[in-house]
């Protein structure tokens, strides 16, 4: 597989402020790559460097192996779907899509063929004569994407293109975008702060925080094997337990929670005794009234606070005895737990191998929320 985009040790400083800090990534041809991170972490800055609107302070950006450092934005084989779309208000839909082709000096019949083909592809055949303000939010979205795709870029960059849409339309467009990408086969680099968008659409995701990449991997890898506390918390839902790591007499480790309760831990983590750790357990790893009495199971009695019914995504809010924190527990809709009511007492447990833990560092976001 050819590498479409390769970013090597790229840094961007604005004065003293480091917006993008030594970031590297490479995307194979035809892949859907996402950069996921909270607001202000430097996603747009990184994308603008790839598109050529900012010059990087250090590092190199290559497209199909060619260094882009001295290449003007209009000469780069990438196109950017802007965060606010940036459609040309004085042109109709057809002219918007034809703009790039005209700049290349293509002939009118060829332009018409390509533009109409793309309008069909994005599900808006015959919309060419419409003006921009006659379009709905979702339609504008598609025109902004069509305007770039018609140029057949090596990489299509998308800056939170679904951010302005309402929740329902966003769900729909997620699927549409993924299908479109599979159809046209163009390499997509997609940035978002919505982890579910990134997970659903991407072949690979880079999780970004405060200008750095915390981890790059498939959605499954990020979900099951987060590389940092930040990733564990940002990707998917997680319960966080603050604990202090202790060494037992046989050299193994266990985590002691604030109330003196000990949890078994299991896994290849960088552990050291006496340090503060965050222990993460996913809601679906928590089992209600576990039957098997396995050695590796952490089991504790708890009171049910509330039942959060949401179909297949239903949850139980519980407080284990002596806990300050509430835990979110997946509630399978298999009729097995239908008898549970708020105020009931249950036992909950998790397999020690299903939890992950990270030494508590002073990372900024999501602490003490």
């Amino acid at each position: 597989m050819q590498i479409a985009l390769s970013v090597k040790n790229v840094t961007k400083r604005f004065g003293d402020f480091v917006a993008v800090d030594d970031v590297s990534l490479s995307v194979e041809d035809g892949k859907f790559f996402s950069i996921l991170g909270p607001s202000g972490c430097g996603k747009t800055t990184l994308l603008r460097m790839i598109a050529g609107f900012y010059e990087q302070s250090g590092g190199t950006i290559e497209l199909r192996g060619q260094d882009m450092t001295d290449v003007e934005p209009n000469k780069r084989p990438v196109n950017l779907v802007f965060q606010n779309l940036a459609l040309f208000p004085m042109m109709n839909v057809y002219e918007n899509i034809a703009f790039g082709l005209r700049r290349r000096g293509e002939k009118s019949p060829a332009i018409a063929k390509k533009v109409n083909g793309l309008l069909e592809r994005v599900g808006l055949p015959g919309a060419g004569k419409k003006t921009i303000d006659q379009l709905s939010g979702g339609q504008r979205q598609r025109i902004a994407i069509a305007r770039c795709l018609v140029l057949d870029p090596t990489v299509l960059l998308l800056d939170e293109p679904l951010g302005a849409l309402d929740a329902k339309l966003r769900e729909h467009m997620k699927v549409e975008l993924k299908k479109l990408q599979a159809q046209v086969g163009t390499t997509f680099v997609y940035i978002t702060h919505d982890q579910s968008e990134a997970m659903v659409m991407s072949d690979a995701v880079a999780v970004m925080n405060a200008g750095r990449f915390e981890q790059i991997g498939t959605p499954q890898e990020l979900y099951h094997n987060p590389a940092s506390s930040f990733v564990a918390q940002f990707v998917g839902n997680n319960n966080k337990l603050r604990a202090v790591m202790h060494k037992d007499e046989r050299g193994g480790f266990f985590a002691r929670y604030g109330n003196g309760m000990d949890f078994k831990v299991d896994g290849a983590f960088d552990l050291s005794g006496g340090d503060a750790y965050d222990l993460f357990v996913r809601p679906e790893s928590l089992v209600i009234n576990p039957v098997e009495a396995k050695q590796e199971l952490n089991v504790m009695p708890a009171a049910v606070k509330a039942i959060l019914f949401d179909g297949g995504n239903s949850r139980l809010l519980v407080t284990p005895d002596g806990f300050a924190d509430e835990l979110v527990v997946a509630l399978p809709q298999t009729k097995q737990f239908d008898h549970i009511r708020a105020g009931d007492r249950v036992r909950i447990g998790w397999d020690a191998s299903k939890s992950v833990c990270f030494k508590r560092a002073d990372w900024k976001i999501y602490d003490d929320e």
Binding site: A51, N74, K75, N84, A86, P89, F99, G100, R103
Partner: protein
Amino acid sequence: MRKRSSFSKAVFIGTIVFLSLPLLVLVLYSFNESKSGSWTGFSLRWYVKLFTDSPQLWRAFGNSVIVALSSALVATMIGTLGAVAVNWYKFRLRKYLRTITFLPMILPEIIIGVSLLVFFSGIGLKLSLFTVFVAHVSFNLPFVFLLVLARLEEFDFSIIEAARDLGASETQTLLKVILPISMPGIISGFLTAVTLSLEDFVITFFVTGPGATTLPLYVYSAIRFGVSPVINALSVVMILGTVALTWSTRNFLKYIAAK
């Protein structure tokens, strides 16, 4: 409630009468047979005289038109490019530049007139129609600049970047994106400049030279020897012209906005 609305109606009618009565009198007297203040009968003789026997007036009118069109054109070109540059290159002095361009708009005209006169004589430029043209360009410039800038600022800067991203060079971006979107601002800037230039008296008075009389200057000097009914006739023609121009530009701007 009712009383108030009839009160506001009265104020409205009063204002209209107050504003248009002098105009009505003017129109009426332009058709007066006699030269003096009393009405002696209907006649078109002043119109005939205006169109057939007023060479100086038409020369002044010609000067005014030349100065108005040329100064408006130059001011529009410079002002537009200036606004584009200020909007495009977001340099730090931008804020101050705006304030500086506001200055000529709020300064009394007499100060501008005097300073231009001092400037011209300082660099040894002989007063002529050319100095009038230069002066008009200078006081028209801020209007065009601000009108175009205001229009440009309605749009997000990202459409300029989008044009670059889609393969447009800087020149193509200017011609295909920036100028089309600023066109309403450019046109209203140009028309404002033409109007301001046509009617300017004070500044022109200071910087004009021999043989470079504009229409307002001519009218003023003619009136000093008593109101000539020819001037009344000219005023009526100009009122009609202004109304026609305003009406057609309004429709034109509407047409552009709808496009």
